[in-house]
Amino acid sequence: MSDNHDSDGWFDKPENVKKMLRVFYVICGLLVLVDFMVHRHIYHDWENIPAFYAIYGFIGCVVLVLIATEMRKYLMRGEDYYDE
């Protein structure tokens, strides 16, 4: 996958990254499609929502990152804060 030439690693080429992301999007799409075809066991009412796990995962992570970014305003200090 990687070669010894310095600056041209596989992930350094934007077109490679784009290709990979496209594959990734397709998998995401397929996972949602499969959700409508496979009969799922339901343990919990919430799971009746179509693609519940996908929506929950996405929203959960966005909220996580937004809150964490907000936390930085209050919590972030210099690297040597405790050594001063």
Partner: protein, 571 residues
């Protein structure tokens, strides 16, 4: 079969490492955990060794399924950690690493609270050298803080067990629980908090995030494996089914992921995710059904391996580049491809990808939460599971090995490090793919559980892929918080900044007051002396200064006689 006391092989290994050098020491250090594990296989269940101490029956070694499971785990973990540390030419680390592992094994086989206490403190005393072995000022003071908090945990345990010995007239370590009458209630809570500190409960967790990232690259592997897992074991035996643990656990599972997202030191990110994973285990113990408890100990088992693997890859990065901050790393996949792949295996395991170890144990806890009607807990754990993938599964590999090219060019770490990481990676896949033959076979409680069905695999993949999608989307929109050189405030701010500042303030005010009082006293004494001396006459002022010493004496004798006379008449 003839067996010896479980912790003995590791302890002898540690003692041998003090005197041996070179390949012989390496050999002994590798053989010790292997022999120890073989020794465990030959042990029968029941009390292995008992004695009496001050009228109390003690069982320093007691074997059952729960302790055996942790016993095997600790031997496996110490084998991997020892192999990882072979290239290090540092007797301190080798000896304390093995002695620390021996203490952990001793603790999980302790049948009474006194023996548990002894190993509890030995865990702290042997492990702190792994932090100090970094030999920096930061590591030194971090180690001191670590030691203080760990010893405090032991002291709470000691007071609690003394109360229990008094009330129950027994020291045996069985179910403790929190429902008691009178003073025993206090004892139970003290033991609970003693365990809780070692388990990194919220607000008591900073010893972990403070010290683990300051230890040496190989020392952290030992540290991440033992202390917290001994505490999980202790909770599983002493407090199963206590509902408060569910809520504590779910807090532990959720809050560290926010810190992990903005933390720059990648080993500290892993320390936060360590707390998050213990949260899952604590929830399982709190639910307390057979499935939940099995899930908790299975997850402890898997966590040691995959967290060890992730810590090892980051240790390798630190060892090879001297850097561990996300802001300084990136692009290492080109020069460390093997480490990259191993790190991704660890990331997949901690994120609970199907076929990797986290999947088969985390799902047990989730299933137990749903079946016991803990809806909110289940939703929060689901959030935490997505969050784990976000920070440990994506952030760690991404910022270390991919992201922008930092320009660092290095090589793969030494062979022994690669072998240790490969062992752990293989274990992750084997445990995840064949759970029934491996970790499930060791589970202490009777319960059948099948992790692999279509629903489960599908929903988990949806959760993970869409968490990844969120990462991609945020990154493309430039909304992902960049890695910045920083320190983030956490609960340790209270004792590292606030308390010292308050103490300093109080002390300096007190000292200032003292100094000003002292000065004014000295000044007034000086003034008195000056006022009582007549500089022109060259003699002191005042009545007695004018008299000869004999005359002064006569005056005093006269006064004495008057006083005597007065008393005589008054009497």
């Amino acid at each position: 079969m003839n067996s010896v006391i479980p912790f003995l092989p590791l302890l002898l290994g540690a003692l041998a490492a003090i005197v041996l050098r070179g390949w012989l020491r390496n050999l002994i250090m590798i053989v010790a955990p292997i022999l120890g594990a073989i020794n465990l296989m030959g042990m029968d269940h029941g009390v292995f060794w008992s004695l009496e101490f001050m009228g109390y029956a003690l069982e320093p070694v007691k074997v059952d399924k729960l302790s055996l499971m942790f016993g095997y785990l600790f031997h496996l973990a110490s084998l991997i950690a020892v192999i990882y540390a072979l290239h290090v030419k540092d007797t301190v680390q080798h000896v304390s690493g093995l002695a620390y592992a021996a203490s952990a094994v001793g603790a999980v086989f302790a049948g009474d609270l006194l023996t548990l206490f002894i190993f509890w403190e030995l865990l702290a005393l042997t492990s702190v050298f792994l932090i100090w072995a970094r030999r920096t000022d930061r590591a030194y003071s971090s180690g001191i803080r670590y030691l203080i908090i760990q010893i405090l945990s032991g002291v709470l345990l000691l007071v609690g067990l003394l109360i229990f010995a008094q009330v129950n007239n027994s020291l045996l370590f069985t179910h403790i629980g929190l429902q008691h009458e009178g003073i025993a209630q206090l004892g139970a809570w003290l033991i609970f908090f003693g365990f809780g500190i070692k388990c990194a409960f919220p607000f008591m967790h900073n010893w972990l995030t403070d010290s683990y990232p300051e230890a040496t690259p190989s020392g952290t592997i030992f540290l991440a494996s033992f202390t917290t897992k001994v505490a999980v074991y202790a909770f599983a035996r002493g407090f199963p089914g206590e509902e408060i643990l569910v809520w504590i656990g779910v807090t532990m599972a959720c809050f560290p992921i926010f810190f992990a997202v903005i933390e720059n030191d990648l080993r500290r990110v892993l320390a936060y995710s360590l707390i998050n994973q213990i949260g899952f285990m604590i929830v399982g113990i709190g639910i307390g059904t057979a499935l939940a408890l099995n899930g908790a100990v299975a997850h402890a088992f898997n966590d040691v391996i995959f967290k060890g693997l992730l810590m090892m890859t980051m240790g390798a990065v630190l060892h090879m580049t001297g850097k561990i901050n996300g802001s300084e790393l990136g692009g290492l996949y080109k020069s460390m491809p093997k480490t990259t792949v191993l790190c991704i295996v660890g990331a997949a395991s901690i994120s609970a990808f199907p076929l990797f170890s986290g999947f088969v144990s985390k799902s047990m806890i989730m299933a137990a939460a749903v079946s016991e009607g803990y809806d909110v807990v289940w939703l929060l754990l689901l959030f935490a599971a997505a969050g784990v993938f976000h920070h440990a599964g994506i952030k760690i590999p991404y910022f270390a090995f991919f992201a922008h090219d930092s320009g660092i060019r290095t090589t793969e770490p030494p062979k022994n490090m690669l072998i240790a990481m490969t062992l752990a990676a293989v274990a992750c896949v084997v445990l995840g793919t064949f759970p029934a033959q491996t970790v499930y076979a060791l589970l202490p409680w009777e319960h059948n559980y099948q992790p692999y069905d279509v629903t489960h695999v599908l929903t988990q993949l949806q959760l993970l892929f869409f968490s990844a999608l969120a990462f991609v989307w945020l990154n493309l929109k430039n909304m992902y918080p960049p890695e910045l050189p920083s320190t983030n405030l956490d609960a340790d701010w209270f004792y590292r900044k606030l308390a010292p500042a308050v103490v300093k303030r109080v002390a300096s005010t007190t000292y200032g007051a003292y100094v000003s009082v002292e000065n004014s006293v000295i000044l007034s004494v000086k003034r008195m002396v000056q006022n009582s001396y007549d500089a022109e006459a060259g003699q002191p002022k005042g009545y007695f200064a004018k008299l000869w010493p004999t005359e002064t004496m006569v005056v005093w004798v006269a006064i004495l006689l008057v006083v005597y006379l007065l008393f005589y008449y008054l009497h």
